[in-house]
Amino acid sequence: MSEHSSSSFRRGTRLFSLTAAAAGLLLVSGCTGGTSAAVNDEYGFATAEQVEGDPITVWVDASREPAVTAFKAAHPDIPIEYETYDGNAGGSGSFQTKIALLDQSGEGWPDVVFSTQQNDATWAARENNGVQAFAAPLNEGYLDQDFLDGFAPGALDPVTVDGTVYGLRNDLAQVVTYYNQKLLTEFGYDVPETWEDYEALGVKLAAEHPGYILGSVGDSWMPYVYYWGAQAPIFQTDGDTFSSDTASDESVEISRILDTLIDNGTLVQDSYFSSTFAETYADKVVALPGPVWYTGAIFQTALQVPAGEIGVGAPLHWEGEEVATGNVGGGIWYASSHSENLDAVETFLEFVTSSDEFQVELSSGYPAYSSAAEGWLAKQADANYFLDGFDEEMISAGASVWDGWGYARFSPETGWATVIVPGLAAGTSIEEMLPAWQEAITNDATVNGYTVK
């Protein structure tokens, strides 16, 4: 038996050393060994070796596929390949996941990526595990400053880190006030202009016309609509420092207003996409604050409000203060710092963000590039859904997004969905839940590497 055991021992050690060697190979291939290449002065960052005519790879979601097709038609000489993915939808993190793996293997990055989320610059603009930041800086010599100036004011805030711009905004989602003129005239009310007006309107509605509502709080993006619009400092970042103060005046006040309206029934908890909302409230919406994409998704599809009834007004703000509004969405295009054909990437980026062929003709979102936005608004005016004057309101709202809201590696929607929504369903008021909400947000901040102030 001993001979068996000794030979099996030898065999065992041999097998072990073999696997250890293989594992070692794996380690070596996995080590990317920190690229400390010299900064290319022309572009402002360390570029990979440029190969003229190298086909560029673009990752888009299904809705942005027409952009690539339009680009191919407009620039047939530039070789371009594309892959569709889920667009990083709903915080799926696909973008970050794939880049994380590609960083580890040290090769295979795409040249351009479109993401539907706004906070990717928080990880894409920094070095990760020793690998150069994926997103290429755009305003340090790469793109023309004139071009960058053509975006709406504040549109590039989500991708600006320490003054450096890392991506281009595809569309804006500024919050405006929608109102149903037909109902307002019928009831004899005015369009609400301030948060105080909004509350007063709600109180009047509940007393005189119960059953009519001013919106819903059941969806996860409500913090952007109400708290961002109220300039409440509950989500603020400064580099790697994070702070949230749900006890601040604005925050408490807007929560109080929301609680009042929830209690008297003018704000409901059913999601805009739920069957209850479609069944019960379709024709009972008097006014509501919401982003510009409510047009298609909510009014025309979910609620099916006929044309000519809805008007667009200035965003709700505090009485006596300047107009500031929130923002709920807007995709971003990123260029890869590892790209080997940065010229083609530049042409592509400028095309997809500012060209009429895509942004005006094919895109359904409000373009972030000002000239394209005007064309888009003209097209909407032709469709005659809204009452006159909506375009000016949208443009001015687009320039009034409050810049005090932070972009972080995590989202405030999580806290709202896991704390506030269930709490409301159980009957607790938002004001009571404010400390718990703040704790959820700051906990999220801590695990994501922020120092909470």
Binding site: T19, L26, A100, Q104, E413, P422
Partner: protein, 315 residues
């Protein structure tokens, strides 16, 4: 009339009626068997090394290092201190309890019942019907559960309202989740296991069943004293696989998280936490630490099944 087939027992009886030792020993026969043994397992061993063993070693390496430097137990400490860790442990533990008990008990009972059906078409159809949900996985079922669990639109809204749940958000309250996940996992997983157990039951020799019948045993007694003991290995295998699936709870919470647009947290289970560490916080070492913890727990619990189910023994 005899042929070369013999009984399934420890000590066989060969053609000449002499007792044979259970294992064939002898240098030449053993050597040849050994050689061919290696040939037979070679393909699988390659895949095992490439996609199982070496990655596991790499994960262990990651768990004890940080950015290439040895870090001892730092990663584990960091993970334990994470405010999401203990709740996730609690969630997974409760879920495993519900899941294992319901799966093993119900699958065995259902398999026994289905096996007892004499009409072949009926038995086959029922097995098919029970299996269908197993074909729907992951992304496909997000939309399904979005509707099923919403009392306002669900086909089983009467059942939900019976429990006093009137809205989607109420159904997804944190306390209800272990039960919901068990239901979902059972719904998708039971059919497959019933098919396997059914096949295992078919391996119970007819004469043994007939002997029991002759002795006057009713269906329950037959099941308990005859069929179940012969299923031990299969049941313990099912136990281990379900344990593995349970500790690695990931798909169901993710589905519901998507369907509810965030009301179900994305860090509900430990495996989800490991995913977040790796792909959201870019901390592959922390992720590997969590995975290692999960592995050790699963291994520990599995030894119970292995020992009680004599999984490694051959007759």
């Amino acid at each position: 009339m005899t042929d070369t087939r013999s009984i399934v027992t420890k000590a066989g009886v060969d053609r000449r009626g002499r007792r044979r030792p259970a294992r064939l020993s002898g240098a030449s026969a053993g050597g040849r068997q050994t050689r061919f043994g290696y040939v037979f397992v070679s393909g699988y061993t390659l895949l095992l090394l490439g996609f199982g063993f070496i990655p596991m070693l790499y994960a262990i390496y990651l768990a004890f290092t940080r950015n290439g430097q040895f870090a001892g137990l730092d990663n584990f400490v960091k993970v334990f201190a994470d405010y999401r860790f203990l709740p996730a442990v609690a969630h997974v533990s409760i879920y495993i309890l519900f899941w294992l008990v319901s799966l093993i008990v119900l699958v065995v009972v259902l398999a026994l019942i289905v096996h007892g059906i004499s009409a072949r078409w009926l038995s086959g159809s029922i097995r098919f019907l029970y299996y269908i949900p197993g074909a729907i996985a992951g992304a496909s079922s997000v939309m399904l559960w979005l509707f099923i669990l919403d009392p306002t639109v669900s086909p089983v809204s009467w059942l939900l309202k019976l429990f006093g749940l009137d809205s989607f958000v109420q159904v997804l309250a944190l306390d209800n989740l272990p039960i919901i996940f068990t239901v979902i996992a059972f719904w998708t997983g039971a059919g497959g296991w019933i098919v396997i157990m059914y096949g295992a039951l078919n391996n119970v020799p007819r004469d043994v069943m007939e002997a029991a019948r002759m002795d006057g045993a009713g269906p329950v007694n037959t099941a308990w004293h005859v069929q179940l003991p012969m299923l031990t290995k299969w049941i313990s295998y099912m136990g281990i696989m379900s344990l593995a699936a349970g500790t690695q709870l990931f798909v169901e919470p993710r589905i519901l998280s998507q369907a509810s647009r965030g009301v179900v947290p994305e860090n509900y289970s430990l495996n989800q936490l490991a995913y977040l560490y790796a792909f959201k916080q870019n901390d592959f070492s922390g992720s590997a630490a969590i995975s290692l913890i999960l592995l050790i727990v699963a291994l520990g619990l599995s030894t119970i099944f292995i020992l009680k189910g004599k999984l490694f023994e051959r007759e």
